[in-house]
Symmetry: D2
Subunit: 351 residues, 4 copies
């Protein structure tokens, strides 16, 4: 067994060594972008499918981000899945951007080998003791890793599905009003489907009111993350834009809530841990201009790719309506996972 | 006063003469397309803004439809708003694609002058005795024209806002189950904003969760058309596609309804009048493939521009969810108005 | 050997029986759309990949056209590649929408078996005696089938690559002025890449200045179709629209040519054979409005999917510039192939 | 007369005070974005149309950039066109993002009043002694301001049209090979048309092969900037993307040039002045991957919005072909103008 990452061995003058699995996919590329100069983690090993081993990352990746690929990652050699070597390299954290059918084979071995695994795959999300962690929403679930055996054993923390992430962040500070009913329609960009993912012929000039498995994920994950027994009513719809998921939401609360209470709850939202590198000071920004947030604000280049924007707050009868925007590849995927690793380090290693 | 169009003067061997007001705008162009070879109506006079009088339609219109402009309308001379001349020409029906602020000045004069006015403008929609007519939904309201004074006087019949039209058609056959609650999110194409309407800079690669006045229209029109006291909960959102409005809907009914009852109700829906040229045999088509209907099916070239498509029918708790698609410029605008004129002729003139 | 389709056996009161290979792909679907009610050909056998044999077309196809799939083709059974059965069915014409790597295996067997093969695949395009036929451009090459052995033997006629088709049609009537130099940049829609073809992630909100192999095809095919020794200079670029290829062209001629000569040459262009069902009376339409043709006119629903539009004609020094628009899935693919079959029937069978 | 900005009065410890005219338009917003924290210039006065005077920038601007509007500019008060006040404020540089018909009235007064004017408007571009400055291409023309009377008098420096900018930057280092012939087709994003500019109805799902006046501008500006007597052959085409202009180019040179010579010339290109804040170390980046540069790389958020990317270099006969990408709102508009002001300061004030 590897040495699990523990407080007593931590040296603040060194970065924690991390590996990335699934580095060439769409979400993998966002991990690469965010990790290549991360202040706490050092990307020590980049793993992709076997046929790519030994080759340069730059020659193997079909880079889909609008930013130019960082020069320093072009010549990174793609490594194999080899636990011994990972141990020798001193790797203690593994980020997983693996497709689900591969994640279910590889992630158990990584946990077993004593790594701290932070995964964007959905395989483990619904397992007992595995948190679907979003620091702004359920930091109290971080300690479930102890039920997984930490610090004696490795563990896994998953992040939520991209559209669930936006909804859970916006609803978390409103939980105190008593959530009775949630109805949500999504406007999801094509990057959520990965690469090659969706055919251009299916979405160019089109809107498709179906995303396989997405509504089920939203229903299950919302309950688990917020620890509420509310079966939300989602429609998940694909729209022809590149990045960003917009959602329109109607909610009912147990309590009588003023719109001002909601704006205040959002403004006061925090990740529960101060100064994580990837958590903005204000994780929710409410836009009071009536045509905001718009999907183009989710633009990947935006330094605020970790913010969830809300807007169009209104009341009609007992219901309160609002819209929200989440950057699906950053906060809703790679960035969420990295933030979870930071939260773990902040709470267990370097508090 | 003009001679109002009445049964006794009708000659089946002649087309009814019609004028079109607002002929160069986006909806005006769809009227031109649908009327230029209509079996019952003869487009006798084409009226546009004063500065265009005396000029050829072809030189004045900025044609935005994908179809080539029909050759026979290129050289139509744009005429002035002149009631005397209209009488001399034997015009009895007027279609109005006027912008609202102009409609409110001109339409009262047309009614006063004894014309049968079919208007896409919203000005008169909420007036007493003025039906917002959709034959599939509220043919019983057609006879409100008698309260307006017909057959002694001219009258106006409006059609609904484009997004309301889709929802009202889909919900009309379900009224019998007792509508308790409707929540709807729209995915509306740019053509709904007219021309020039929306700036390309605002919507290219973007989704904008606000369309000024649209949600209010949906709430008011839904109640009036379906004669129900239900305050629907809409979010109206603009997406970057050319034609077609998609909507996702969650409904609650008084009665316990099976999904099969709904499919049956949609299948049996009819316009209430047989054989109107612009009403398809099946005004609602339910698609049981889970990713249909898609917005590209609303494509203006489609001969079925008058059909409302439904899909994704599902039940969750007490709620029933579905999606729908309406061609906003045909069924939801010009085509709806023409269908209303046909319904009037069928019922009052040539039954 | 099958009985090759010959004049003496032809009965005008019966349609000619045809098979379609590659029926479920993007181009295959356009063939289905155009053949399902063709006046001369009866679609008797629909062949797709082996795994689909015995199943209904409707359940196997991922329909990507904006039109609803015609009801009558939903339940067509997908058949195997079986020459004996094809003979028994009386099939004489085969349309091929096969991917190239499959076409190269199957098409030789179809020719060998005595069928008249009309193929959209590129495999045979550059073979001796095989015409890349475009009736408007090179009807004189139709008789190359005799060098292939017709009427004793089967034969193949290919149609050109989609972007070459537009250019060849527009340049054919100008050949008489002596083509010296052609420079062309294309604006090609995503449908040209087939399905799944291009990933939505690669083209949404993007323009990609490269289409593998396309420029080489244009250079080779242009020379062969027009029988000229001119090495054109192409740039082939993908743009984020669904249907239609636009091209900008600069040409130099041996002769001194007036713009009026060019407009006249285009106006007088014909397919060389009268009254083919799929050839419009005017195969080239010159648009003199300066912002036409636009790509939305290539919209598949357009009845003029067989027309090549030209526009923006201008002279600068010795060069003449113009733009053109071709519907890449109709005229540039399935429609071109069907038109070729019609041209063959008109010339050899039923003149 | 104001005190013209001169070397002797310059204090390196203070920023130079600048005004921006036309601050609320699309290009104006990019100026605001780039100037609000510029290291050399302090945005002291923001001028917009008269009706907006005295109001906050944040309430008056219809912000179209994907980035959130910087908080510090929200409450800037919009000022009037008042030369006396500008003098009192100590303003010495004026940036102009005015529409052309307003620029032609206001810019002469600004020059007359002794300001150093850097304008994105086209009005003065073709006047004698007025440079269309692009530091990478024609720094030798900067001293034309002396012919305008500097340092006794105010002066104006214009920047080129957005599509010309990309072409001129890429061609400038190749001038030494003797430019004989240039043929260029553009793929221009909608942001080039300003706001509201183009109607969404005209460009959604469309490509329009005409941009009024653009081809004439390219022809005139190319000659003047590069001081060559070459009448380029352009086609300017609008494509449905938000930011970035791509161009395909075929060139002939007097000399026999190897592809390697061109790559080397691009790599060695510099602005001629070291260390301007807005000029990247490598103003031209050649991409040797065959599908680059793509338009999504011009994404406004990119720190490299000042780089011109080239790619697809190839030779065919005597011609050399390549593609290029320029960020039309940064390098091709506001950024170009700011870079010109920096070049002026570097050369005349603080060398």
């Amino acid at each position: 067994m590897s040495k699990v990452l523990r407080k007593e061995e931590f040296r603040r003058d060194k970065k924690i060594k991390a590996a990335l699995f699934g580095a060439t996919g769409a979400v993998g590329q966002v991990f690469m972008w965010m990790l290549h100069d991360h202040p706490w983690f050092e990307l020590t090993r980049v793993v992709a499918s076997e046929s790519r081993e030994g080759k340069d990352y730059g020659s193997e990746v079909h880079w889909i981000l609008p930013q130019e690929i960082p020069e320093e990652i072009l010549s990174l050699e793609i490594a194999s899945f080899n636990i011994e070597e990972m141990r020798e390299q001193g790797i203690q954290i593994v980020f997983s951007a693996l497709p689900n059918h591969i994640a279910e084979k590889i992630e158990p071995q990584l946990i077993e080998a004593g790594f701290a695994v932070f995964s964007n795959a959905s395989h483990y999300r619904y397992s007992e003791h595995v948190p679907i962690l979003i620091p702004e929403a359920n930091m109290d679930q971080l300690n479930w890793i102890e039920k997984q055996g930490y610090p004696e054993k490795g563990f896994i923390i998953t992040n939520a599905n991209c559209s669930t992430t936006g909804l859970a962040v916006a609803m978390a500070p409103l939980r105190k009003f008593g959530i009775k009913d949630v109805i949500v329609s999504t406007y999801q960009s094509v990057s959520g489907a990965g690469h090659p993912g969706l055919s251009a012929l299916d979405i160019t000039g089109n809107v498709v009111p179906f995303i396989g498995g997405e509504e089920e994920k939203m229903r299950k994950e919302f309950k688990k993350i917020l620890s509420v027994d509310v079966d939300i009513h989602p429609f998940c719809v694909r729209v022809p834009v590149m990045f960003g998921h917009l959602e329109t939401v109607w909610v009912e609360f147990e309590q009588d809530v003023e719109l001002g209470d909601i704006i205040k709850a959002w403004a006061e939202c925090s990740s529960g841990v101060d100064h994580l590198p990837s958590t903005p000071a204000k994780p929710i920004i409410y836009e009071d201009q009536n045509d905001l947030p718009q999907i183009k604000m989710a633009f990947y280049g935006d330094p605020e790719g970790m913010v969830v924007y809300t807007g169009r707050l209104k009341r009609q009868g007992n219901r309160i309506g609002f819209s929200l925007l989440v950057n699906n590849v950053v906060k809703g995927a790679a960035g969420g996972s990295i933030q979870n690793a930071e939260a773990f380090v902040a709470k267990y290693i370097d508090k």
